[in-house]
Every structure is written in structure tokens, then in C-alpha cells.
Symmetry: C2
Subunit: 427 residues, 2 copies
């Protein structure tokens, strides 16, 4: 099999995975989920014309010539209903959100009036019909769809759900994800330190990447390089919607992962992608109907997906970002699948070997002209610190032999970058 | 009191709040928290020179003239220790991560060799000393500080913590946050629909904004416009680290929030900020030592902070983004306090009234030249749907009277925008 381009491999993955079924969730637990149903307004909002300001409900026709003195006939608070009709030469004191009384057609802000006595004010500016009045139904009209299935539930969406008094709703289920590390060289986190072993960081870095998507994964631990043990672990992992296996999928003679996965009925879709870091990366599907009966614990017969990720911690994390995260997000109903990108200028030159897309770990700073990207240092895929320090992944096209300092580049933002040190705004 | 500029008000807030104390957390629960201690390496990593590739450990001096045939003397897997010394004319088959045997000083990747027989290979390219060898301590050296206090725990950082086998660590505590809505006009989410009332969306939109920062807030409910009831609720809220009160802080005659807060001992730092949406916005501090005894439930005497947010749902959310989120993040130990910004071109002209910083809700698209921002429609602060649809807040400087289509603008990214629809990368 030839090396796939990154975008081809992404397409294969995203065409394979499907939206999961829906489940019910409480409003308080819904942040970040995706709606699986349309939501309709349950009334007009505002239910009638209301004031947008603290001020006086007036008849605009009274204010064609100013200054003019108006009689204050009542006080209308938010939550009150007006008791009187505003006649020519009259007005009503009104609070933000309170109903505009009959007769009045505009609101004069309190700052633009002068109190003459307890029930007399002077107005010195003219005003148009409808000024500072929020018309009935401006926000939403009874029965209209205000949120469609497929909407990601952000704080603003939760505000809308509360407005239409939805306390429970249908959202797409989260995938059940299992994480497995493989290799005799690995030392589990609770094992004593053995200088001849490598601490298993992949289990936890992948755990955190899955958690960052709102999913709590199951950690299966470490399978040794033994076909029977590996088979036992992989069988267990295939009971989940998605199994992430790190290590053991390269071309080396001691790698049993791919043959064992295939023996269990998984159809491998690809196992080579032209990217760095990232080699080897495998993806396979266990079709629901092909699952061996004793493995299919869930009542449904959905497909299971296996990602064979590199053993190198940085490679494993980068492959997760480019392939696994978009797949998990699609399964949860998201339409935004890929990492947010920003344009940046390169702080220094970069040399590349063409032929594969390269993801360079960079830190971002900001100057007058925008973002500046600089490498976090060594790009060795064994150096996880370079990933921990990175704000983003600079994407070098596969036909590039390098870039000069100052070149414009595209950077995918990583976790932790939703916020920044400086406001970078001009007031 | 004069209107404060946004940056001045942010400075007042951020100078008032302090870092909270530390607490212990398990690795599995640590994502997004901030380290309150330095973390040191517990060994050299790699513990010795290891192979960066699947291939053959060779003596680079043997390969000055190629092609050359080498004898394969052993097989070294990751986790194995080499049993032999590589002599001139010899090599060892080696897996990624396995120790480079004595005598060898470089690794030739398997793809660049040809197998002649079971224990003979032909090498056709030369190689430099150290090629594809990861030297001892490249990742980290025993005893070195690998992560400093103040580091936000991202997936990459969790990989490092697992590498040095930290299963539990000190992180800054999260603030306890209480949310209170005020106003006779409000209808609670479980109340029957009353056309004369306004559904309380602020409680839930603010809840979600707090949740998005990793904090589970306490919802106090709705206080009516009654001084005694308000005082009871505010007293309860001041037992928390941070109290968010929405509604009731304007200049209207029926607003009891500010006087009641001040009566309870809170020193108001400001109550007017030159921004839109956003009026009125108040901020106050209840100093720990000034707390009335029966209110101080916690053993410590830390300050409590009160934000009086506007009753309009959009205004309340924007004020949260600009003032409350940075404060909560500082208390949790973050150094990144402000929303990520991107540059965009304006899709259409925008008119502004100068004199205050304006935050315009926009959607972002992407074309060949970068981001394009367009208004989500009505900018009325009562229209929460415009916030739910927004990708970001376009910041209009206070001296601007408007911008033409195509103007370059700064947009703060909102929740839900860590991912995007298209990859926007060139492979």
C-alpha cells in the first residue's frame, strides 16, 4: 500500500465513522454536547413592546418641537403591567424591560430629560417612533425553530435553551473510547522505576486528549509483545466504539498488533500516511455485523474503529489531533471537526525534506503585525516536552523544501490556547 | 464616578483578585488545572542512546565507501539490552526505542538496506555518526525541573507528568462561584409560563460560562426586588469566593442591589465601564477581615468578589467574557487570561457611536486571504440568539465612528471555536 496524503487519510476516516445515537441530558450537563433535536420557541419574546432603557415612555409626536414639558402619569417597572394610556402631553416613567404603555411609541432615556417636579419632566431632544423600544417578538416568535439539530451547545445556546425553558434535551451520545499501550519496553505508571524501561506516557497523553473532547476514556493498560496477551487486550478494546492502540504497528518483525487486529475481523483501511511526525499510523473498522457474538456486549450492532497510533509520544499525539479528534467529534455530531488555524509569520528559517506533510511544534507570540511562530526546539518525535511547550502545529506542505524567516505559515492551535496573555485589542 | 475604560476596569479587577491556595489532585482529574509546584525528572530519558528508527545499528566508519555488506550479529528490541559489541563489518538489527549497542554509533533505517541472507545485509548509503540515534538524556535529565509552577496542564503536560510518574500533584484551587439573578420580572425555569414575565436565561448562560472554565457554580436562583429578600440572598452569595449578580445595578430607582451590597460591607471599585453592550457593570470586594463573623464559613479569611452584571443576557455574557473570566482564571493560577484574538477583514461596513468600546457579535468564515467577519445581525443586547450564533466578538475602538467593508479588525474567539469546519491547511 502506498502512503496516503493526510487529507486522503482524513477523508477515509471521516467517511467510515457515523453519527452515534441520541440520548437525553439535563441542561446543567449539556455544555459542549450537540443537539439531536430542533428546539422551538414557546412564546413571543418580548411578549409585547418593551423599553430598552431606563427612561420615559413618550409619544414621539409630542416631541416634534422641543423643549417640551410632559406630565408623568405612572411608574412602570419590569414585571409590572401599565395601568394607564399615555395621552398627548403625558409620559410614563419606565424601566428597562418593562412594557411600553398604550399611547406611547418611543422611550426617552433618563439622561436626556430633566425632572421639574415629582410628576413633571422637561424633554430637550426629539425622538423617532420606536426609539429604544424592543418590539414584540424581536428575540423569537412562538413556534419558530430557534435552534436546529446539529447545534453545538455553547453558553449562548444554553441561554436560549433556558429562555424556552428546556430542562432536558436530546443530544448525540459520546463514543466509548478505550486506550491501550503495547510493548515490552513500557513501564506502567505504578511500576517501580526500571532504567531499562520507558515510562508509559501515551496512555495518559491520549487520555487527556480524549478528555479534552469531553469524553472519559477507559484505560486498558499495557499489553506485552505476546500474540495471546495482545489478542486478549484487543478483543476487550473492540467492545468499545473506538480503540486507540499505541505502539506496535510499524513494519518491524516484532510487531504483532496489525496481524492480531486483522485476525479479529478488523478491515484495515490504511496503515501508512505521508506525514511527520506520524509514522506508523493505521486505521481499521470492525463492522457491526461481523463482530464475533461474544464480543458484542451492546444491544446495537454499530461498527467499532481502531486507530493504531505510533509508539513515539509526540507522533501519537499529533496523529490523535489530525485523525482521531475529527472522528470522535463527528461521532458526537459536531460539524466543526478540525483544529482552529491562524496565520503567522515564521520567526526563523525552517528546512524540510519534501514528500510528506510536516507538523512542526511552535510557540506563538504576537506583535503589531500579528502572530509570530517559532519552533519549540528539537522536533525529534521522542521529545514530549516540545509538545508540552507548543501552542500549535505549524503545517509544512509536502512539496516544501523549507521556508525563510518571515514566511507566512498556517498554525493549528492546540489545547490551552483558547486564552492568551494579552488582550491584543485596541480600545 | 466617571466611566472607566475597558482596560482600566480589567486592571482594577485583576489587581484585586489573588491566586487561591493549592490542593492535591489525581493525574486523571488534572486536565486544565494549573501546577502549584515544580516537577522534576526522576531519571535520564532516554536512559541511554536509543534508536529513533526500525533499522540496523551500524558503525558510521564502516560506511564511508558504499555499497558494503555487514554481518547482522543480533536482534535488539525495545525493552531488550544488547548482548554483544558491534565490531567493524558488523551491525545489529534494532527496533525504535531499543538501546544502541556498544561499538555502533548510528542507525541505518531498514528502508535503506537490502537483506542478502538471514544474517547479511547490504547498505547502499553513507551515514553520519549519531544519525537516527536519540542520545541519553535528550528528553530530560534526572533532577532537572521539567515543569514549573504556573504551567497549565494540557495533554502534552499530562504526558510529561506520566513520564516522571507523578500520579498526584499540587494545583491551584478553583474558586467557588455563586450565581444570582434579580428582578420581579423574571420567571424561573421550572415556573409555569407567564406572558408578563421574562424567562431567567442569565442564571444558565452564566452557569455555562463558568462551567466552560472548569468550575461548577452554585445557582442561588432569583431574588425579588425586595430589600430584605435581596439582602438574604446577597449574604448567602458572599460566602463564596465570587458572586455574580445579574440585573438590578442600574441607576433606576427600583434597583436595590448596589446599596444592599454596600450595606453588607462590600467596597465598590467601579460601577460604570465605557463599553457596549455592558452597561451597567459593577465590581466590588468584601475584604476577608471585614466579613461579618456569622458569614465567614470557611476557616480562611480570603476576600470575596462581587460582579454586578447587566440584566440583559447579551450584556451579561459579554461582561463575563471581558472581566469575570480573566478574574476566575487568575485565581486558578492561569497566566493566559484573555480570549484568543484573530485578525479578520470586515465583510460589510459598520457604523458606531464613538465614546465607548463596542463588542460586535460576528460570525467568521475563511477565504484565501484569511478570516472574514460578518455581524450576526441585530446587535440589540436583548437578542441572545445573536450571541448563540456568534463565533467571536469584534472589538471596535472607542474613538471609531465606523469601519468600511474590508477593514482589518480584531475578533475575540468565543466558546465552540477551538475547532473549525475546514482544515484550512495546504498539504
Amino acid at each position: 500500500m502506498e502512503y496516503l496524503r493526510v487529507s486522503e487519510a482524513q477523508r477515509v476516516v471521516l467517511e467510515s465513522v457515523a453519527l452515534l445515537n441520541a440520548e437525553s441530558v439535563m441542561l446543567e450537563q449539556s455544555l459542549g454536547r450537540v443537539l439531536a433535536e430542533d428546539i422551538r420557541a414557546n412564546r413571543d419574546l418580548p411578549p409585547y413592546d418593551v423599553s430598552a432603557m431606563d427612561g420615559y415612555a413618550v409619544r414621539s409626536a409630542d416631541l416634534v418641537q422641543v423643549p417640551v414639558t410632559l406630565e408623568v402619569i405612572e411608574d412602570i417597572r419590569a414585571g409590572d403591567m401599565p395601568g394607564k394610556i399615555v395621552q398627548p402631553g403625558q409620559c410614563a416613567r419606565i424601566m428597562t424591560g418593562a412594557p411600553v404603555p398604550q399611547g406611547a411609541d418611543a422611550v426617552m432615556r433618563v439622561e436626556d430629560t430633566q425632572e421639574i417636579s415629582a410628576n413633571l419632566i422637561q424633554v430637550i431632544t426629539t425622538i423617532k417612533d420606536g426609539h429604544d423600544v424592543r418590539p414584540q417578538g424581536e428575540n423569537m416568535r412562538n413556534g419558530d425553530v430557534v435552534l436546529t439539530a446539529g447545534t453545538e451547545i455553547t453558553p449562548g445556546v444554553i441561554g436560549i435553551l433556558a429562555t424556552v425553558k428546556i430542562t432536558q434535551m436530546q443530544v448525540y451520545r459520546r463514543p466509548r473510547v478505550a486506550i491501550l499501550s503495547t510493548g515490552n519496553e513500557l513501564e506502567a505508571i505504578n511500576d517501580p522505576v526500571d532504567m531499562n524501561k520507558i515510562p508509559d506516557s501515551n496512555t495518559y497523553a491520549l487520555m487527556a486528549q480524549v478528555q479534552a473532547l469531553g469524553i472519559t476514556p477507559t484505560l486498558l493498560g499495557i499489553a506485552r509483545d505476546d500474540p495471546a496477551e495482545l489478542e486478549r487486550y484487543l478483543k476487550l478494546g473492540l467492545e468499545y466504539d473506538v480503540l486507540l492502540v499505541s505502539g506496535g504497528t510499524s513494519v518491524g518483525v516484532h510487531d504483532y498488533v496489525r496481524p492480531t487486529i486483522e485476525k479479529l475481523g478488523v478491515a484495515m483501511k490504511f496503515w501508512r500516511v505521508a506525514m511527520k511526525p506520524g509514522h506508523p499510523l493505521a486505521f481499521g473498522v470492525l463492522h457491526g455485523t461481523e463482530k464475533v457474538p461474544e464480543m458484542d456486549v451492546a444491544p446495537r450492532c454499530a461498527d467499532a474503529f481502531v486507530f493504531g497510533l505510533p509508539g513515539n509520544p509526540v507522533s501519537s499525539m499529533v496523529c490523535f489531533e489530525e485523525f482521531v479528534a475529527p472522528a470522535l467529534r463527528r461521532m458526537m455530531g459536531h460539524s466543526r471537526l478540525f483544529r482552529r488555524t491562524v496565520s503567522a509569520r515564521l520567526a526563523h528559517s525552517l528546512k524540510m525534506r519534501p514528500g510528506r506533510t510536516e507538523f512542526v511544534r511552535v510557540q506563538l507570540t504576537h506583535d503589531d503585525t500579528g502572530y509570530v511562530a517559532s519552533s519549540t526546539g528539537t522536533q525529534s518525535s521522542g521529545v514530549l516536552l516540545s509538545m508540552a511547550r507548543a501552542d500549535g502545529l505549524l503545517v509544512m506542505p509536502s512539496d516544501s523544501t523549507g521556508l525563510a524567516a518571515g514566511a507566512e505559515v498556517t498554525v493549528q492551535l492546540l489545547d490551552g490556547t483558547a486564552y492568551q496573555n494579552e488582550t491584543n485589542i485596541r480600545e
